[in-house]
């Protein structure tokens, strides 16, 4: 990642030179990609000083030292004139471009003077990876994305132990996250568990639930291809900044608990989701050159159930809410659907699906 030419351009490590070091990559590597702002316990909670204040994981001097360790890299030569080389890793720009003075890194490690750009880079990345924050920091972020916005310290601790024990093997870590008792068993009793589905996962979950194939969707990602009324503030792969869409510490106003995905959930994006559900359920998605088919759900397999509302509800409950729908919710939806004439089978199925997938119960993955 560090020598990826795209990253080199994005966070200015390409062309980072000794005479005027650029702090951009160094700072975000520490803050976002590895250890975070504060010293952590193995269970992801913040270490506190004698005055019960969190302890910064590094100082400005550390950022400056890493920025100097990362000097001396440039993009590979253009494969053709006028073409930026986004194909090969960055390479050293020559000895004078690299700062060869000593550098004070994390945990008291000092890079000796006189090392070249490759050696300094390797030692600096090793220094970051050996920081005790890495396991709990990455583990907690992954849990928040995959399972719950407010994981218990014990849960984070169990996953971080797997991280530390496997030197960050992602397969093992994801398995530990998804098979943890907190992910499997406690959803019924822990009222704070779960997380708001981010827009792209809400959409894919919806499409996959109804086995959508390319016959009924264009599979085009990117909000720019949708009408403005369907924008959900997640233009995939084009977040407003390197901080991405979901601040891990985002506290839901008035609720006192975290909900990173709520940072882009507003009156505007809430209606966009409701209207998106309408478009795919009722087959009204506007088409254009980039989306010639529009995207819609084929609900015809459910039409035979339209005359047997309890069975329709039971089937959709299992499919969309894995059986968690309350009796009250089921009753409200059944009443609404029963007002549609039996002859309008598709209309009945559409109404039921629309009311479920726009419900807050479906928005929250639990």
């Amino acid at each position: 990642m560090t020598l990826n030419p795209g990253m080199g351009k994005y966070l200015d490590m390409a062309g980072n030179r000794a005479e005027a070091p650029n702090e951009n990559y160094a700072r975000e590597l520490l803050q976002l990609f590895s250890i975070g702002l504060y010293e952590l316990n193995p269970d992801g909670t913040q270490k506190l000083d004698a005055h019960r204040r969190p302890i910064p994981a590094y100082s400005e001097d550390t950022v400056s030292a890493f920025s100097r360790a990362f000097t001396g890299w440039t993009l590979a030569p253009p494969p053709q004139p006028e073409i930026v080389n986004y194909f090969e890793p960055m390479r050293p720009a020559g000895p004078r471009a690299h700062d060869q003075e000593t550098k004070q890194l994390l945990n008291g490690v000092v890079l000796p003077a006189g090392q070249n750009a490759q050696t300094d880079l390797q030692h600096a990345l090793d220094n970051v990876f050996q920081h005790p924050n890495v396991a709990p920091f990455i583990s907690k972020n992954l849990i928040q994305h995959l399972v719950t916005s407010n994981p218990s310290p014990a849960y984070v601790g169990r996953v971080a132990a797997v991280f530390a024990g496997t030197k960050g093997d992602m397969k093992s870590i994801v398995r530990a996250i998804l098979l943890d008792p907190d992910a499997r068993e406690s959803t019924g009793s822990d009222t704070q568990s779960g997380h708001l589905r981010e827009p792209v996962l809400w959409i894919t979950n919806l499409l996959r639930a109804f086995r959508t194939t390319e016959a009924t969707t264009d599979f085009v990602l990117g909000e720019q291809f949708l009408p403005h009324s369907l924008h959900m503030s997640q233009n995939l792969f084009d977040s407003p900044s390197v901080f991405n869409f979901f601040p891990p510490g985002y506290v839901i106003p008035g609720e006192n608990i975290k909900g990173p995905e709520f940072a882009i959930y507003s009156t505007s994006t809430a209606l966009a989701r409701t209207n998106f559900a309408y478009a795919v359920v009722y087959q009204t998605m506007p088409t254009n050159a980039f989306r010639p088919k529009g995207t819609w759900l084929d609900l015809s397999p459910f039409e035979p159930l339209a005359t047997d509302l309890p069975r329709l509800m039971e089937t959709l409950n299992l499919l969309l809410l894995h059986g968690t729908m309350s009796a009250q919710m089921q009753s409200v939806i059944e009443t609404a659907v029963s007002e549609i004439p039996v002859a309008n089978r598709l209309g009945r199925v559409r109404e039921a699906v629309y009311l479920i997938v726009t419900s807050p119960q479906y928005l929250i993955a639990r």
Partner: protein, 460 residues
Amino acid sequence: MHQTRRAFLRTLACGAIGSAAVVSGTARLFQAQALAASGAPTDYKALVCVFLFGGNDSNNTVVPLDDYVGYAAVRGELALPQASLLPIKPPSDGRNFGLHPSLTRLHELWQQGKVGVIANVGTLIEPLTRDAYHAHPELRPVQLFSHPDQQRGWQTAFATGPISSGWGGRVADVYQTSHTVFPTTTSIDRLSLFATGNATSPLVVPSAPTPLNQTLVLKHKGDTADGSALRTLLDLASSEGSPTLVRAAAPINARAIENSLALNVDPTINTQFPDTSLANALKQAAKLIAFGRSINLSRQIFFCSLGGFDTHGNQGRETGTQATLLQTVSDAMGAFYDATVELGVASQVTTFTMSDFSRTFKSAGSGAGVGSDHAWGSHQFVMGDSVKGGDFYGRFPTLALNSPDDIDEGPTARGRWIPTMSVDQFGATLATWFGVSTSDLAHVFPHIGKFDTVNLGFML
């Protein structure tokens, strides 16, 4: 009423209501609004925040002309050509300065006394000297130089740690509004902490050119006779037995539907706006002001923003990245000012800029890719007929590495100025003009007592 409005807001601030869990989210919202509506003012005022995401380089926004040589010697390849600068002479300072050549409209408004500059303002826990900065790390705002933390610091006016409400939202919390449904704060295009209070959640609508009455449209209420199922399900989700996150999402959907019904007109604004994201956001704010006037809202607060100011590389000078961004800001704010004149509210609407931080005086990189890194104290603009424009407020910093204004030390110093005024003071001055009483100021700006001057004096 069993409790005073302020006491109620205080319980919200302490989270007591949240843990009591006796009032559903939706009901809580309306309870807060009903309480707030108890003593509405009869006049109209609006605050408009223009946030420059990424950290605008103030050192190339306002440049000293009388010491141009000293400026150019350190800025080197980043130095703006002297002849390109738009000259200003703030009476309180007495020296000559120049605005970035892109800021033509703001320069014009400065000359008309409609625009002022707040010099070297930033996040602070309390007033700080260079010596105290080095001797007492605990007096430094939390995570200086980190984008999200400093964006939060500016939006919350709370430099000692994260907090889940912004100062615009807290102004709305304590301020009486005359309308019971439509929110006082609006965040254009994206949710913002600034516009989120303890009892206030902002309306979020997309920018122009989306017509105002098309910004929030519910395409389908359901097929039943009265279309009430959607709303009934939201009430059910808001109820006590629901999981916390379900209960948190439901009122946002409910508000969206209510506001979609309220926003049923698209007011005409004849002023021509440029076709930029910021201008389109400000045009929507102008329409919402017209709409707010039409339903007798007495107070409105807006959040608009422009990104791209994180110019570590390729910052440019009189042309290039920052020049294009500042041109966008200047032209959009100029058009917005014209729109407030058109609506007859130029003295009732005050617009101001905020940004993560300024950037290092000494550059990062060299050649065409030259840029600058994260710093601290910055200069911000305030605009409107109630602004005492054409002047600086605060002391312009000494632009010299290792000066008493610089936190950096020794030969590697980059020039990061210690603010001489805090975001708290900046916000309190605007909030006071808006009508927040002295006693309520302490709720909105909890650390204001750390600063001698509560009102910086830039408002009439």
